[in-house]
Structure formats: C-alpha cells, structure tokens
C-alpha cells in the first residue's frame, strides 16, 4: 500500500484502519538499508570519530585478508567497535524474534523474552560467577564484566531456570499459556530473590558496579570470538520459528482453532518454548538482560505489517537489530567519558515510543 492511500484513509475517519500499513517487502529493504547505515554510524562515532569512508575501507581490507593500512584507525574500527556493533545487531535481532514468538506462545501481547524466567536464571548464574568467583580468588576479566566465565555461568543458569519452568509447566498435561506464565513468574521471583541476596554480598564498589551493569545489560567489551555463538543461535532460531509461522498464527486464534487446523498445539508450544528459551539464554549470556526491546519490537512490527508471523518474525529480527545498534550507539556516546547502561536507554527511548504507538492505535480504532 502506498503512503498516498494511507493518507486518504486518514482523511476518512469513519473508514476502519486496514490491518496492515506497509507491505513487508519494501519495509524489509528499507530496514536493511537503515541497518547498514546504523552499523556504519555505530563504528564511526565515539570518543574518536572515524569517517564512514574510512570505516568501510578498513572493513574491506580486513575482509580481503590484507594487512591494515598504516595511519588508519584499524584497531578502533575492527577490534573495538565493529564486534560491538555486530553484537548489538545480533542481540537485537534475537530479542525481537524471541519477543514475537513468546507473545504468540502465551497469547499475550504483554509478554517479553524475560517473562518465562529464563533471564532470571541467567542473571543468577552470572552474578554468582562474579560474586563467588572473585570471592574464591578466581581471575575474571573484570574490565569487560562479560568474560567467558560469566557468559558460561549465565547460560548454565538459563538452562537451570528453563528446566524448572519446564517441569512446572508440563504438569497437568499442559504447557497452557497460563501455566507457562505462572511457572515463569514464580521461578523468576524465586531466582531473583537469590540474585538480590548475592548482590548484597558484593564486597566492594567495583564488584557491585560490575554486577549492576550486568543486570541492566551491556554490550561492552564485545570481541569477535563472542559473535559466533549468538550468530548461529539467532540464525537457527529464526529458521526454526519461521518453519512454524503458520502454527503460531493459528495459535493466536486459540488452542481449539489451532487443533481444528491440524496443529498439534502441545507439541508446537513445547518446541517454541525450547527454541525461545535457548535463544534467550544465549542472548542474556552475552549481553545481560537488556529490557524493552523484546516487548516493543513485536508491537511496532505488528502495527506496521500486521500479525502474520510469516512476515512478522523476520521483520522483528531486522527491527530489533536496527533498534539495538542505534540504542547502543546512543548509550556509548551520549555522555562524555561515561557509558550509559543500555537498558536505561532502551527504557527511556522505548517506553514513550511504545506508549505513543499504542495511544495512536487506540485512538484510530
């Protein structure tokens, strides 16, 4: 649909709003272009500004396997900013994807990737590693607060939380939306309590800051070696969910409707729960629990292209990637010499945007 017809419709308030505003194809092209621009800006901007042209020449040389040209900002571009920008894109894509799938899974547009308790397990694992690890005198790469040990502990915590929620949710033949949500919330509260206790046990200010920064989510200290796992996880997750897009659509209408359409609802819900949990675990393990992206992105995308998951899933991934690259760049560069926790920026920018969109939507209904 062209923007002209959209405007026409706005002039006729009695005409009901169409279910979708934009076609998925052009929107995907637009988002991809915007993502490339955002990635360029993310690598270009910072305490030292690198011109966009130089960014791409450094990247081109690296990709061609050539030695870095002398006098360029190779270290900044290739070692510091590029992996971070790409990690932001991957985590954003994953959060958008998981948010969309979890909202269909529990048939509730208020759900987000952290609703099912997975992230609280990851947080507990990470905080335990930071607190207990340093107490035991283990060496952690603290400058980044996101070392491999912490990531592994976080993923282990995510799997533990997943197992607990699974055991609770499967009782009574279930995996019903209500069971999943209640089990998730219960486990999240339980693990969150232990995490809070551990935070109180932190011994010095630096440790506390490290823990808090982790809990609020951060992409700091990203290195190339960190990207492979989330990249593979997001790609596989997208493929697995996309293959189930029709089933997710049917599930939106209700379990009985889905059953009538030949969807094995219990099995589908189990599969989607596993896929979203593992993906959430991987994302939280590399970046902490970055809030709001997984809640907001599905809403924005649904408003733009409607509720069909065959379009919604890939577009949520793209939109999430774009959003988090932009937000992380803001978090890095907004204050001189100090980095904002990315969760603060997603909430401050995201909440008003979401409220505005919902408000406009309610008005037009």
């Amino acid at each position: 649909m062209t923007s002209a017809t959209t405007r026409e419709r706005r002039d006729q308030p009695r005409r009901p709003r169409p279910a979708r505003i934009l076609r998925a194809g052009p929107l995907a092209a637009l988002l991809t272009a915007a993502l490339v621009l955002a990635l360029t800006a993310a690598v270009s901007l910072g305490s030292v500004d690198v011109p966009p042209g130089e960014v791409w020449s450094v990247v081109a040389r690296r990709l061609a396997g050539q030695a870095p040209a002398p006098g360029t900002h190779d270290l900044i571009v290739w070692q510091l900013r590029a992996p971070r920008a790409l990690l932001a894109a991957l985590v954003g894509a994953g959060l958008g994807l998981v948010g969309t799938a979890v909202q269909a899974l529990v048939r509730n547009p208020l759900a987000d990737p952290y609703l099912l308790g997975i992230s609280s397990g990851a947080s507990l694992g990470a905080v335990a590693a930071i607190v207990l690890g340093t107490t035991l005198g283990l060496q952690l790469p603290f400058g980044s607060a996101l070392g491999l040990t912490v990531s592994l502990a976080a993923f282990a915590g995510a799997l533990a939380a997943f197992s607990l929620v699974w055991l609770m949710a499967r009782r009574g033949g279930g995996f019903s939306p209500l069971r999943l949500v209640l089990a998730g919330i219960g486990i999240a509260q339980f693990l969150g309590g232990i995490t809070s206790y551990l935070v109180l046990q932190t011994r010095d200010e630096q440790q506390t800051r490290g823990v808090l920064f982790w809990l609020m989510g951060s992409l700091g200290g990203a290195v190339w070696a960190q990207l492979a796992v989330p990249a593979v996880a997001v790609a596989i997750g997208l493929a697995l969910l996309q293959a189930r897009a029709r089933g997710l659509n049917a599930m939106l209408m209700g379990d009985e409707t889905a059953a009538g359409l030949g969807v094995d609802v219990t099995r589908l819900r189990r599969e989607v729960f596993v896929v979203t949990s593992v993906l959430t675990g991987v994302l939280v393990a590399v970046s902490g629990a970055i809030g709001f992206v997984g809640l907001m992105v599905p809403h924005v995308c649904r408003l733009l292209v409607g509720g069909d998951h065959r379009r919604l899933l890939p577009l949520s991934a793209l939109t999430g990637a774009l959003l988090l690259v932009v937000v992380d760049t803001v978090a890095r560069t907004a204050l001189d010499g100090q980095e904002l926790p990315i969760g603060v920026v997603t909430a401050v920018l995201g909440a008003p945007t979401l409220l505005y969109l919902l408000d406009r939507r309610l008005e037009r209904n």
Binding site: P16, R17, P18, A19, R20, R246, L261, G262, V263
Partner: protein
C-alpha cells in the same frame, strides 16, 4: 464423508463428561447436537476436531479411525468453528481466512495462486469479500462468525463441525448463518442452543443429557413435550410452524416442568462413571 462416533467417552481432569456416545452423521446430512449446558455437546465436538482425545471409543471418518490420521490429515477433511474468539493480534480478515490453508502447507511454503483463489472464494461465499483488508478484531459478532466460517470453508472440508455458531448473534445474523450452513450441503455436526433453530435446519437431532446420548432421530420424532420436560426441565408444547411446517416449540416461560429443578439437572451432569 460420513462421520461415525462409536462408544465415545471423554474425561476432563478425571471427570467423565461424555460417556459412551454413539451417533452417525450421514454424507451431506446436518446432524444437530442439543442438550442443556454441560451435557457434553462441546466435548463430543472437540473430540471430532481433535482438540480432545477420547478416553474410550473412537471417531470414524469415512470408516477410518481419526486417531490413525495425523492432525493435519484430518484437518483437510474436518473444518471446525469452535466457540473461542481470538485476541487482538492485528490480523486482517484475509489472513484469518487464509489460516484455513494451514493443514495443506508444509513448513516455509508460501500461499500459491490456488490458495489465494480458495481463500477469496470462501470469503465471497459468506458475503465478506469486501472486508478482506479489515482488521478481524474490529468486526461485529455476526461478521466474525461469518469470517470464521469462511476460514473453515477454506479448509475445503468434507465435514463441518460447529460449536454454537449462532451464540451472541442477533436473530437476522442467526438466520443468515444457518442458511449459509444449509447451502453448503456438507456433512455437518453442529451444537445448537436454540431448539427451534435446530428443529428447522437439522436433518437429524441427537440429544445429550449428563454426558449421555438420550435420543436420536428426526427433529419431529425427538422433540416431544416429554423429552423437553425430562431433559431440559421446561414445559413446552410442540406445534407446527405456520410458515415452514417445521416443529415449533412454544416454551412456557412462566413455569418450569413439574418436578424439575435446575439443581436436579445439574446433579445428573457428569455423574456417570
């Protein structure tokens, strides 16, 4: 296709809600299920569209046990219109109807021209072609039911299963929907609250009471004053409809049937082993 329900029992959370029901819907026949609330109508229908698994007995589709078919296979033959109404997830009318193609599609398969044709045809059949781009959540109750019926038609089913399709519709929309059903000339299993509607549109009626089938036959044979008192606990006279000649049930809305209380009816519900 013919649907045969054989000795079908359903238990929910250990409680028997349907006990050994037998009924047959012949090819092209509209079979109506009537009975008070909690009599097992929905449970029987849910077993046919495979939301519930029978605890005993079986459902035969043209002689084949449904349990032997994959869910997607049986959904190509049985289209359902359950009672639930989806939430608001920004789905368009066309997208809702296109869901009817789900049992025919493999993972990643896009809708092809054939799917588009079938979807558009189903939407036109229920008179909602104009509404294709509207949001499903914005439709009125009557429009929604028609769209959901179109979705079931897009499954190209041999058998339609409908659970109280006229609930919450005003009289005109009830009549339109039931007329649509009759036009289909498909094997149909439909649960109806409105006994007069059931008497008019169904070729055969099956009366459920407390999880058991207590009467089956042509509406004229089944709907007697005695049965209405016994099963529904109401006083009624059965007369001839002045326009259609169908049985017309005139309820006494002032007095319940003698010796019958709502509590008594509730006691019998689900009490069978």
């Amino acid at each position: 296709m013919r649907i045969a329900v054989e000795d079908l029992s359903v238990a929910l959370a250990g409680r028997t809600v349907l006990a050994g029901a037998n009924l047959i819907a012949e090819e092209g026949e509209i079979a109506g299920l009537v009975g008070p609330n909690g009599s097992g109508k929905s449970s029987l229908l849910r077993t046919v569209y495979r939301h519930l698994r029978p605890s005993a007995g079986r459902v035969l589709l043209a002689g084949r046990d449904l349990a032997e078919l994959r869910p997607a296979q049986s959904a190509r033959h049985i289209g359902a219109l359950p009672q639930e109404r989806g939430g608001d997830f920004e789905l368009s009318v066309l997208e809702v109807v296109a869901m009817g193609r789900t049992p025919y599609k493999r993972a990643f398969a896009a809708d092809d021209a054939e799917d588009h044709r079938i979807t558009a045809e189903a939407l036109a059949r229920v008179g909602m072609a104009e509404a294709a781009d509207r949001r499903f959540a914005q439709l009125s109750g009557g429009e929604r039911q028609r769209v959901l019926l179109a979705r079931a038609l897009a499954q190209q089913p041999d058998v339609l299963v409908l659970d109280e399709p006229t609930n919450h519709l005003d009289v005109r929309h009830q009549v339109e929907l039931l007329a649509l059903l009759r036009e289909q000339r498909r094997t149909t299993l439909v649960a109806l609250h409105d006994l007069n509607a059931a008497a008019s549109v169904c070729d055969r009626l099956h009366v459920l009471h407390g999880g058991a089938l207590v009467a089956s036959g042509a509406p004229r044979e089944v709907l007697t004053a005695e049965l209405l008192a016994e099963v529904f606990g109401v006083r009624a006279a059965v007369v001839e409809h002045p326009l259609t000649g169908d049985p017309l049930i005139a309820f006494d809305h002032r007095n319940p049937a003698e010796g019958s209380t709502a509590a008594g009816a509730a006691d019998r519900t689900g009490s069978r082993p």
